[in-house]
C-alpha cells in the first residue's frame, strides 16, 4: 500500500517517538514509534511498514503494515498486511489477514453492529485470506477517502 497523502491523514513520521495517550478525531498514519494507547473512535488508523506500536488501539478501522503489540478494538474492520507483526487480541466486525502476516492472539468477530444498509452479519463476512487482501486494501482506502 502506498503511503497516504498527508492531507488525508495526520502523519507520525519514522523518526517520531510518542509515549502516552494518543487521541484524535481524524485519521492517523503512524510510521514511527508509539507506546501507550491510541484512541480514534470514529476514525481510522494505519500503522505503516516502519511503525512500531506498543499500545491499546481503539479505532473505527485499523490497517497494520508494521509492528503492533497490543489489543485492537475496531468498530468496523481490521486488516493485517503481509508485513504485519501483531501480538494482541482483535475484536471487530470484519478482519482481513494477508498471507505472510504474523499474528499471535485472539480474533473475536463481533456479531453486533450489523449495518442497517443490508450488510451481511459480521461473523459471516470475516475475510481473512490472501485472496481477499488486495481488494480489502482498496475498500479501506475508498472508505477513508469517502470520509473526507
Amino acid at each position: 500500500m502506498e503511503t497516504p497523502k498527508t492531507t488525508e491523514f495526520a502523519h507520525i513520521g519514522k523518526s517520531v517517538i510518542i509515549k502516552g495517550e494518543l487521541s484524535g478525531s481524524e485519521d492517523l498514519y503512524v510510521d514511527g514509534q508509539v507506546e501507550g494507547s491510541i484512541e480514534l473512535s470514529g476514525n481510522r488508523l494505519i500503522i505503516g511498514p516502519h511503525g512500531q506500536v506498543r499500545a491499546k488501539v481503539n479505532a473505527k478501522g485499523v490497517i497494520v503494515q508494521g509492528k503492533l503489540d497490543g489489543n485492537i478494538l475496531a468498530g468496523e474492520r481490521v486488516e493485517l498486511t503481509k508485513s504485519a507483526i501483531v501480538v494482541g487480541d482483535i475484536a471487530t466486525q470484519r478482519v482481513a489477514i494477508e498471507e505472510g502476516a504474523y499474528f499471535k492472539g485472539k480474533v473475536d468477530i463481533q456479531r453486533e453492529g450489523v449495518k442497517a444498509d443490508g450488510a451481511r452479519p459480521a461473523a459471516a463476512s470475516a475475510a481473512a485470506g490472501s485472496s481477499s487482501a488486495g481488494s480489502s486494501v482498496m475498500a479501506a482506502k475508498t472508505a477513508i477517502n469517502d470520509g473526507k
Partner: protein, 229 residues
C-alpha cells in the same frame, strides 16, 4: 484404543492438486470428523498452534467461533530461551517457555489444532506442552494432532496446515526465511527438523491423561490423532 482406517482411497494423497510448488492438498479424515463439532451452532473457542493461517481464521470466524492463533514452534526458537542443563549441554528453558506461552487466563478451549507440533518441538517441551494443553481444554474438548511414521524419514519437511474444506487441508512448506524476519534465528539457520518419531504406544503415553484417543491412518506417512479430554 480404536483404530480407524481412512475412509477413502483418495485420502491423503499429498501430491494431488498442488496449487503452488510448495503447496499440497490432502484429505484429512480426522478433520472430517472434527468438522461436525466445528459446524455446530454453538460458539466455540478454538486454539490454533500452527503458523498464522488466514484460511483457518476465516474458517472459524465465519462459523461464529473465537480463534486464538499462537505459533508455538516459532515461539520455541526464541534465542532467549537457550540455557544449559546440569551437564552443561545446550537446552531450552521449558519453565520459562510455559510462563510466556500458552497462557490464557480468560479462556478454555473446545478445540485445539496442534497439527504436527509435537514432532518438531524440542524434546524438553513436548510433555510440558501437552500437560498445559490438557488444562486448557474444556472437559470433552478435542485436540487434533499429526505424527509422522518411521517411513517419513528424518528430513520430512515441516508444513503449516490450512483448512480449505470440510475434510481437506492445504499443506504449505514453512518458509523459514520469512520466519527469520520475525525473529526465529535458529529456524533460519537450521530449518525445522523432525525431532523424533512417535509410535502408537508413545502417542498413547503422551496423551495418557486424556479420556479418549482415535487414530486415523493416512497414506502419506502421517498418523492423524483426535484426542478428547
Amino acid at each position: 484404543m480404536k483404530i480407524f482406517r481412512s475412509s477413502s482411497d483418495s485420502a491423503a494423497q499429498g501430491t494431488a492438486s498442488a496449487r503452488e510448488s510448495n503447496r499440497l492438498t490432502r484429505r484429512s479424515s480426522s478433520l472430517g470428523q472434527l468438522v461436525k463439532t466445528l459446524d455446530s451452532d454453538e460458539a466455540l473457542c478454538i486454539l490454533d498452534l500452527g503458523s498464522t493461517s488466514p484460511a483457518n481464521i476465516r474458517y472459524c470466524t465465519e462459523r461464529g467461533h473465537k480463534i486464538y492463533s499462537d505459533d508455538l514452534l516459532l515461539s520455541s526458537t526464541d534465542p532467549s530461551l537457550a540455557t544449559k542443563d546440569e551437564a552443561g549441554n545446550p537446552a531450552l528453558d521449558s519453565k520459562r517457555f510455559l510462563e510466556e506461552n500458552l497462557v490464557f487466563p480468560a479462556a478454555q478451549f473446545d478445540v485445539v489444532f496442534c497439527w504436527n507440533l509435537a514432532d518438531y518441538l524440542d524434546e524438553s517441551l513436548v510433555k510440558p506442552v501437552v500437560g498445559r494443553l490438557w488444562s486448557l481444554l474444556k472437559p470433552g474438548g478435542t485436540l487434533l494432532a499429526f505424527f509422522h511414521t518411521q517411513e517419513a524419514g528424518p528430513d520430512a519437511p515441516c508444513y503449516r496446515y490450512h483448512i480449505v474444506g470440510t475434510d481437506t487441508l492445504e499443506m504449505q512448506l514453512i518458509d523459514t526465511r520469512g520466519d527469520a524476519k520475525k525473529g526465529a534465528q535458529r529456524a533460519a539457520s537450521n530449518g525445522f527438523r523432525l525431532q523424533r518419531v512417535f509410535n502408537n504406544r508413545n502417542i498413547e503415553n503422551l496423551f495418557r491423561d486424556f479420556a479418549n484417543i482415535k487414530f486415523f491412518l493416512a497414506r502419506d506417512n502421517v498418523r492423524e490423532v483426535l484426542v478428547v479430554r
